[in-house]
C-alpha cells in the first residue's frame, strides 16, 4: 500500500526528531531522510554531551578502545538488523536502535567521548563502501573476524589484543610466578626499532675501489 504524502511526512518528522534526540548531525539526518534539513534546524537545542564530533574522521577507531568499540557496535548492528554483512546497506531505524542498545550497555562510549552516533553512522557507511575491511584474526586457533580501516596495521581481533596485551601477559606471568622470570624481565615488550634496509655507501665505495684496483692490475698485466 502506498501511504499518502502526509503520512510519510509525519513519519519522517518523528524519525528525524528521534535521530536528533540521539545526537545525530543535521547533515546526516538529511542524507537519510531527505527534506528534513530545515526542519531539524527548528528543533530545540540538543544535549551537548551526546554530540561531540563531525563524524567523518576515522582516527577514533585506531586507539585500543575505539577499535574494540567499533567492532562491538558493528556486531550489535548486525544483530539488530539481522543482516550482519550489511548486504542491504544501512537502515537508519536499525542504526538508531543499535545505538541505543550500545550506549546502554557501554555508557563509556559517551562518557569517555569515544564515539557518537554520527561517527557510528559513518562507520557503517564506510563498511558498505569497503573503506573499512573485514579481516580474520591471525592468532593461532582464533578465527574471529573483525573490521578495521584499510590503512590500519592491526592483524589481531580486539579479543586477542586484549588477552595478549603486554599488561595482561605480565600480570599472568606474575600470578604464575614462573622461576625463569627471576631476572624480572617483562614477558612481552615491543621490539626495538628494526633497522631499515638502506643504501650503505661505505660498502659500495670499498667494493668499487676493489673493482677499480683489480682492473688496473689486469691492464698492467
Amino acid at each position: 500500500m502506498r501511504l499518502s504524502a502526509d503520512v510519510v511526512a509525519v513519519n519522517n518528522v518523528s524519525l528525524a526528531r528521534r535521530m536528533h534526540d540521539l545526537g545525530m548531525m543535521p547533515k546526516l539526518i538529511n542524507d537519510f531522510i531527505p527534506g528534513t534539513k530545515k526542519l531539524v534546524r527548528s528543533f530545540d537545542d540538543l544535549n551537548p554531551r551526546l554530540y561531540f564530533s563531525r563524524g567523518y574522521s576515522k582516527t577514533w577507531a585506531k586507539s585500543n578502545d575505539g577499535f574494540k568499540m567499533s567492532n562491538i557496535l558493528f556486531k550489535i548492528y548486525g544483530i539488530v538488523s539481522g543482516d550482519p554483512s550489511l548486504s542491504k546497506g544501512v537502515d537508519i531505524v536499525y542504526t538508531a536502535t543499535a545505538w541505543e542498545v550500545a550506549t546502554i550497555q557501554y555508557p563509556d562510549l559517551i562518557n569517555k567521548k569515544i564515539c557518537d552516533i554520527s561517527r557510528f553512522t559513518y562507520l557503517l557507511k564506510k563498511v558498505v563502501s569497503n573503506e573499512f575491511l573485514v579481516s580474520v584474526c591471525k592468532t593461532h586457533n582464533c578465527c574471529n573476524r573483525f573490521i578495521v580501516h584499510e590503512d590500519s596495521d592491526r592483524y589481531f581481533c580486539w579479543a586477542c589484543a586484549e588477552n595478549y596485551s603486554s599488561i595482561s601477559l605480565n600480570k599472568m606471568g606474575e600470578s604464575l610466578s614462573i622461576e625463569s622470570q627471576l631476572n624480572k624481565e617483562t614477558l612481552y615488550a615491543p621490539k626495538n626499532k628494526c633497522v631499515k634496509e638502506c643504501f650503505d655507501s661505505s660498502v659500495y665505495l670499498s667494493a668499487s675501489r676493489h673493482m677499480f684496483l683489480s682492473s688496473q692490475i689486469k691492464a698492467k698485466a
Partner: protein
C-alpha cells in the same frame, strides 16, 4: 530513551535473580544444579565454592544477557515450544517438563528449584512484554532471532497468562559459547571473557 532504560534494567535485574538462585541451588543441591544447567561436576563445585558475595559481585558486573534456552530431544528450542503452546487453556507444564531431558531420577520437590523456576517465570514475562513494546531493542540486547520475535508478537496478547506462573523446570542455561570453566570460577577475567565471546564476529 527513558523507557528503554527501564526495559534494560528489568531484563538485567531478572537475570541477576535467576543467576543468584542458581548459586543457592548449587550450594544446597549440586546434583540437580548440574543436570539442569548442563554443567560438569567440577564446574558445579567451583560455583558452589564461591561465597555468595563474590558471585553477586560478579553478576552485578555483568552488563549483557548471557542466558540461552535449551533444546529438547527433537532439537526444537524449548522457549519457542512454550510460546507456541501458550494459547491453550489446560496447563502445559507437563508437556514442557517431559521434553527436558534430565537423566533418570530428578527429585521434583526441591524448594530451591522452585525458586529458580519462579525467576524463570519472571524472565518469560519480562521478555514477552519488552518484545511487544520494543522488538528491535530486545532483539539487539538478547540476541534473539526474528522468528522468535514474530512468534511472541503473534501470540502474546491473546495468550493465557496463567502459563507464565506454571512451575516449569528451568530451561535457561548459560550461553554455550561461553567457557563454563571461566564463567563459574572465581576468575577476575570472567566478565571480559563473556564480553569477548558475545561480541566477537565469528566467521
Amino acid at each position: 530513551m527513558s523507557n528503554i532504560n527501564r526495559y534494560y534494567e528489568a531484563l538485567i535485574q531478572v537475570q541477576k535473580g535467576y543467576l543468584n538462585s542458581i548459586h543457592i541451588l548449587a550450594v544446597k543441591n549440586p546434583c540437580a544444579c548440574g543436570k539442569i544447567l548442563n554443567m560438569k561436576p567440577s564446574q558445579v563445585s567451583s560455583l558452589a565454592n564461591q561465597t555468595s558475595e563474590s558471585w553477586a559481585r560478579f553478576i552485578s558486573n555483568l552488563k549483557s544477557w548471557v542466558l540461552f534456552p535449551k533444546k529438547d530431544i527433537a532439537d526444537n528450542c524449548l522457549f519457542e515450544y512454550f510460546i507456541n503452546n501458550i494459547n491453550s487453556y489446560e496447563s502445559i507444564t507437563n508437556q514442557v517438563n517431559s521434553r527436558i531431558s534430565l537423566g533418570l531420577n530428578m527429585p521434583y520437590d526441591i524448594d530451591d528449584l522452585s525458586k529458580v523456576s519462579k525467576y524463570q517465570s519472571a524472565i518469560f514475562q519480562n521478555i514477552c512484554l519488552c518484545v511487544l513494546e520494543d522488538p528491535l531493542f530486545t532483539k539487539g540486547l538478547l540476541f534473539m532471532k526474528q522468528s522468535t520475535i514474530d512468534l511472541i508478537a503473534d501470540s502474546y496478547l491473546t495468550s493465557n497468562k496463567l502459563h507464565f506462573i506454571d512451575p516449569v523446570i528451568p530451561f535457561f542455561v548459560i550461553n554455550n559459547s561461553i567457557d563454563y570453566g571461566i564463567f563459574f570460577s572465581d576468575d577476575s577475567n570472567a566478565c571480559h571473557h563473556v564480553e569477548q565471546v558475545l561480541f566477537s564476529i565469528v566467521a
